[in-house]
Symmetry: C2
Subunit: 315 residues, 2 copies
């Protein structure tokens, strides 16, 4: 056990489809040790979760009585142990009470639930993002408004009074990758996917995506622009990215029935900048939030919630 | 030479990406012999077109002086001989005058051009469909209104006075296949893609696709419906098909700025029935037209046009 890990009060775990990320933190949530591995849920059989986590915790010198709080796909039906979805609308402060608890290697493990929108007219699910939203609520005092979590499956979330009142998933990142890799557009976009938020072609296609002409009906024009025009591979990539992000904003705004106002982009790096530029064009006021910091804040809050309840129960 | 092929006046050729289809017809366009092979442009190097066509024509017993009229991808830059796009708006009767002519195996070969929309604000191209539209004009006396040619890349065409005045391509069929094969939706749709035009789930999702909630923002709900609801694989396939076709109609109508009225669906079989049902819901009056018959009528008209011009020039 290192000096740092001796001060650890919690083991906080973000266990997604592609990565496992573990932080040991002090009682205030400050990381004292951390590790990220490629042991995502997608790469693991059910009986591999326990030994993988134990190996990482041992490597970080985590004491055996350290409370472990997990969020993400480890709690899915195909994961380690199912943590059934909480139904929206749901207060973020109530998520910890819906976690599943079990023993593994003499450790007490808790996995937070995802959130499901069970309305048959538009079913939807999230798992992992709810913990970032909890972090946004407790660490950034954002209790209402919109959040946009861009990615493979972008989540759009409407918050009110620290509760998730509605949300929608848009498969923008997956579509972008599919179209670049497998569709006829691959002949135009080439291999290099780097797109800049200040590229005029990106910004032009954001506008098209936001307009009534946006959407599926404009994808082929990106191919045609390189057949009858002089669009090069970089232009085509920027056009595809702009069209899909603009269309996502248009469609998600329509579904959630909200245009303009504050929106919190949870996601850093170049993707966050693309969404910041596109959301500004669409009339929103975007704020970029750091995803890993929020998930840690959410996990910490949930861990404290459980701990305090246990103390109260013992008193 | 068979008795039938002795009566042949023309060799009409529809040479697409995946298939080669050849008809020998009498002077009135009635087929006297025909053959379809899998020698589409996508499977051929440039120097393979001539021997492949010669083999098929020889097999059908075509005389060496039979005029050959070709449409489709054989005329693309990656095909046999490029027939540069005619620019829209373009009168369908003028297409034959834009064909490229060359000798091959002592035969006189003509390839019809595609049509390009070169407006940089929304470039688009078609190649092969223009000949079906010519057939619609000359064989069905349809001189104006909308045509919808569903498929891998659906074409929507606005006709006026026997001219193509505007058109848009929507990659609906390609997206349907990509999403079923490669996206997260494959876990819900399974392998069997058979969808019926009377399936209530198909019809429900057509409505969603047509609404302001349609489009990319609803794709993930198909996955969620099998996670939190009881949607089975057939439901998920019907939902995906309905959502994409409804969205195509919504988006193409917006781009071409026309909703309702007569629309000619060029495409038979089950796909034609799905579009017929969806277009009816959207408020159009759909008529199903037979694609191969129209392409033959278009090729015949172009061949006669060239022949008559040659006779006039000789007089």
């Amino acid at each position: 056990m290192t000096t740092q890990s001796k001060n650890a009060a919690f083991a906080l775990v973000d266990w997604g489809t592609t990565n496992l990320r573990v932080w040991l933190t002090d009682p205030a949530g400050k990381p004292v040790a951390e590790e990220t591995t490629a042991d995502g849920m997608g790469a693991l059989a059910r009986d591999q979760f326990a030994p993988v986590l134990e190996r990482v915790l041992d490597g970080l010198g985590a004491a055996h009585d350290l409370p472990v709080m997990i969020c993400g796909m480890a709690g899915s039906r195909q994961g380690w142990r199912e943590a059934p979805y909480a139904s929206s609308p749901v207060n973020l402060a109530d998520l910890a009470a819906h976690s599943v608890t079990f023993q593994s290697h003499q450790r007490l493990i808790r996995i937070l639930p995802g959130i499901a929108r069970k309305d048959a007219s538009r079913p939807d699910v999230m798992r992992g993002e709810e913990t970032q939203l909890l972090g946004l609520s407790v660490a950034k005092n954002v209790s209402s408004g919109l959040a946009c979590l861009p990615g493979t499956h972008s989540k759009w979330v409407k918050l009110a009074n620290n509760a998730v009142v509605d949300f929608a998933t848009v498969m923008t990142g997956e579509l972008y990758a599919l179209l670049r890799q497998h569709s006829i557009l691959r002949h135009s976009t080439g291999d290099d996917a780097k797109v800049s938020a200040t590229d005029p072609v990106f910004l032009q296609y954001v506008q098209i995506g936001l307009s009534k002409e946006g959407g599926l009906g404009r994808l082929f024009s990106i191919r045609a622009a390189s057949l009858v025009g002089d669009a090069n591979a970089a232009d085509s990539s920027a056009a595809l990215s702009g069209l899909l992000i603009g269309t996502e904003i248009r469609d998600a705004s329509a579904i959630l029935d909200q245009t303009g106002g504050d929106i919190h982009i949870i996601g850093s790096g170049s993707l966050g900048l693309l969404y910041q530029a596109a959301l500004s064009i669409a009339g929103f006021t975007p704020f970029i939030q750091d995803g890993p910091a929020l998930v840690r804040a959410g996990l910490l809050n949930a861990a404290n919630h459980v701990l305090n309840n246990a103390i109260r129960a013992a008193e």
